[in-house]
Amino acid sequence: MKTRTAFWVVRGDLTRSTYLVIGLIGFACLLLIWSGLAASGWFERIFLPGPLEVLRRFVVWLTQADLLGDIQISVYRVTAGFLFSLLIALPLGLLIGTLKPIQAFFEPLIEFARYLPAVAFVPLVMLWVGIDEGAKIAIIWIGTFFQMVLMISEDVRRVPMTQIEAAQTMGASRSEILTRVVLKSAMPNIVDTLRVTMGWAWTYLVVAELVAANSGLGYAILKAQRFLQTDKIFVGILLIGLIGFIMDQLFRLLHRRSFPWLHLR
């Protein structure tokens, strides 16, 4: 009884291994329901392939087609679009969150821009940038940049005022306050923001590749649809999910490594 109460405590804690086991059970349930539905015969195979067929397709794709190349080009596009966003969003978000005139100038513009649907820009991007790599990176950039700036500026605004004022009374200059206090203080939250926006970058990768590409996971999914290769669509979707999951875990690892004071126990 004692263990059960500890288990279900509001905001309680679990050991790392228990947490992992429960997480794996979650995945196992998904797999089980999927297998059951596929085996039940309620759906035609062509609409719902079973796990084994998907696995077989994965092996075929890996050995007889260029799966690794597709993954590589997709990861490259996401990373490039994401880094390009970050390169501008970090300094701009830092300035918007600390200097009122810059906030007044940029924030309404960005609030407006983030409601412009990135997907609707695809034809424009094709006209302006063409259909090569730049076009895909541009679409990912449009999809992530505006959200990223706003979220980073919000992270920056949450830095406690007394941390800034303490630096001022020690004689810190404005640039020293930005680099030595505000950025350092906001960094853990910014890394969390990047983890979340990385997920959106993957969403827009698929958009970019569905529309204007001849390689990559998103393109492969689109082509598979034309040939009614449902199992291949499944492989593509699951792989994107898996890669996203791995990147998420990498961000968490980065968080634990870079900000040890937040993970003391």
């Binding site: 007394t162 303490a166 001022q168 009374t169 020690m170 020293e176």
Partner: protein, 289 residues
């Protein structure tokens, strides 16, 4: 040290007809009105008053964190402009840098250009390192120098904050209810620590608090402020020897001054403060015994 309050040798801080107005137009409210005060070098002045009397705003203006609407703040006879390292400040809460260790927090000012330019010879750098160790030793935190702030208790954190504020050797130390968030026992320890520190560092301290007992125990003079608009009501010289001891809190002089100050706060603010209630309780108690 002399057995009486330190006589002003020269004015370290001089507030001249200081006024502060928040808002504009019809919503204007005067937070401070015509505040004039002289603080001598090596003097410990405490400021008390009910909430809303502008005592924190006053301190923040001297620190340069708030602008003033009228009047002037002089430091060594020169008007101040903005915050500066000659006026150190200790805040009530959350001012430590959680990403830096205790020692790194104390040495934070050494990262700043203004201090590096001023003293960057090998000897001065060496002296600064020595000072950081000495301050932590004084604060009893030497063995916790590699800990992060969130591994420390509230009292320890505030000691780090004080050491950090003292590190650049400010001419004036401004303290804004620094012990307000601490429990009573820790607070008493901090009182004796700050007095020890004051005598060692020979600094000038302006200390804002809502605790009358704290104000009398620490200060050479106690400034009582009144609200609406914030102004100085009265200034009381503390009739206690410079070397304070906890037993002095029970002397007739101490209690008489405490009563006077509480009465001033009570009549000017028209609000029962916690101290009023406590005072009544002690009176009832002494009555029944």
């Amino acid at each position: 040290m002399a057995a009486s309050p330190v006589m002003p040798l020269c004015h370290k801080i001089s507030l001249q007809g200081l006024g502060k107005v928040f808002g504009a137009g019809a919503k204007q409210t005067a937070v401070l009105e015509d505040v004039s005060l002289e603080v001598a070098e090596n003097e410990f002045v405490t400021v008390v008053g009910a909430s809303g009397c502008g005592k924190s705003t006053l301190l923040r203006i001297i620190a340069g964190l708030e602008t003033l609407t009228s009047g002037a703040v002089l430091l060594n006879g020169q008007p101040i402009s903005g915050p500066g390292p000659e006026r150190g400040m200790v805040f009530q809460d959350y001012s430590l840098y959680p990403w830096l260790s205790v020692m790194e927090n104390v040495r934070f000012c050494r990262q700043l250009k203004i201090h590096r330019e001023r003293s960057n010879s090998a000897r001065e750098v060496h002296a600064a390192i020595g000072r950081s160790y000495a301050l932590l030793e004084l604060m009893g935190l030497l063995e916790r120098k590699d800990a992060y702030p969130n591994q420390l208790s509230g009292g320890m954190r505030q000691r780090v904050a004080i050491a950090r504020a003292l590190m650049p050797k400010p001419q004036v130390l401004l303290m804004d209810e620094p012990f307000g968030a601490l429990d009573a026992q820790t607070r008493e320890v901090m009182h004796d620590l700050i007095l020890h520190l004051f005598n060692r560092e020979r600094s000038t301290i302006l200390f804002v608090t809502h605790d009358v007992e704290e104000a009398i125990y620490l200060g050479h003079r106690v400034v009582v402020m009144a609200p609406h608009p914030g102004r100085i009501d009265s200034i009381h010289v503390v009739p206690l020897p410079a070397a304070r001891h906890a037993d002095m809190k029970l002397t007739p002089e101490f209690l008489a001054l405490k009563k006077t100050i509480l009465q001033r706060i009570h009549t000017t603010s028209g609000v029962y403060t916690d101290q009023d209630v406590l005072q009544r309780l002690t009176e009832i108690e002494s009555f029944t015994h």
